[in-house]
Symmetry: C2
Subunit: 293 residues, 2 copies
Amino acid sequence: MVRSIGKLVVIGVGLIGGSFALAMKRAGLVSQVVGVGRSAENLQRAIELGVIDQASHDPALAVQHADLVLVATPVGQMGRVFDAIAPVLPAQAIVSDAGSTKGDVAALMRQHLPKHLGYCVPAHPIAGSDRSGAVAAQYGLFEQRRVVLTPLADTQPDAVAAISHWWQASGATVFTMRPDEHDAVFASVSHLPHLLAFSYVDMIRQKADAERCFDFAATGFRDFTRIAGSHPEMWRDISLANRDALLADLHAYQAQLAQLTQWVEAGDGEALEQMFEQAREARTRWHQGFGKN
Amino acid sequence: MVRSIGKLVVIGVGLIGGSFALAMKRAGLVSQVVGVGRSAENLQRAIELGVIDQASHDPALAVQHADLVLVATPVGQMGRVFDAIAPVLPAQAIVSDAGSTKGDVAALMRQHLPKHLGYCVPAHPIAGSDRSGAVAAQYGLFEQRRVVLTPLADTQPDAVAAISHWWQASGATVFTMRPDEHDAVFASVSHLPHLLAFSYVDMIRQKADAERCFDFAATGFRDFTRIAGSHPEMWRDISLANRDALLADLHAYQAQLAQLTQWVEAGDGEALEQMFEQAREARTRWHQGFGKN
């Protein structure tokens, strides 16, 4: 059963929530978009930009008669949002999200929306950016991007089919996996590198010759540290939410660094070159395929 | 005394050596360019592309009547090159290089060119790229780039002035510092991040779910790992050459990671957010100034 969305409620009208609303509008798949948020200024801007049709500060009021509720707030706010909408949610309204971690969102849904789990579909649209707010919303953001759905044991297949259809209509390719599989993969390819980049910049800024270091930092430094420009609150939430998978990767990386340090100490050029070569080969192979599917 | 270059000998005709030759030609500052290398194919290509005028496999023959000898080989080959040219070097030929480490090049010059130190000027043009060979040589590579000179105690001011003038004519801004200062700065802003990126990719490729990880790696991963596509042999040489500064930074980074891991383990969101915030602020401030001087 694939349907169009009579009423879409986007809670958290930023890059992801706003761009999803725009995508549904362009696809002719939505009749009405209500945006919910704390900042009146951001919501006003979202109306002016045509991202939403109506604004509200009250999630409970907004979700009445909703067909789809997309919770695109930081994960740290989702518990409160689910709590607020739980008593008034229409029986068949699909509830989805856009969080970067999925085990915790699944747990929050089980905790706060226990009677609604058949229509809960945790989701992760992979379209990060350092831009935020309604002004960041853009047409086409999800084209050639990936969306990972992590349905709960109770989620109805119809609800998964509907949300898959909508994300596909935005131009994305949709994948399905278990929440814990999702979190292990994203700890490795996204969360760990963010923490490594933040730590690296924080170490450099504390050096006695920090000013001279920054003076001579070049394009390699620029690319390596780009993700250290990401949103601190969001990354705090992710670090806490994906604690177990992240700790496993942090320990593995520390072991890797200890080995590397030993090679440098011992002047073992052969071991170093072999490791660099294997890393380069894997990275080159990855890069050749990147963006092609 | 600023002079033009009658005969320029480039030993190692790749991205840096080749682009320097092109820059001198465009500036009208050189009469003849001789390229020296091991690969006949690369030298032939360099002649066809107008990067060099003549090719040679023999450094000792090539440097006769040279005014400037630019040794743009990997640092690991420089000792042999200096040895080969030492007996035949014209008395006032300036010898410079393009290595990413300077303490070791200074030491190699002192060891292999002890009678020529007045005309030795170790240098580091900061224009990295993952492209290599004569085909990578390009006009304008050094425009708005930086070149660090690390003269020896014995280097004649005239030789420093001449090489400064030539690099400035290529469009670069020239800085001078001590070899050990240079190596500490570049360990921090270049060598350490390369080693961290290589180690990270090597860790991911060894994971049980490596294939799925690479499948979902996105733009953050792409930028963070770009430098892991760098040349293994060159980075082996740099790791060995800049061992002491690199070890100091590796230890500092490991301490930083141990602290981070403790915060994640303890679920200390406040400490994490504060560190992320300080890193983001430092990175943003750096990025706003980057490329402006």
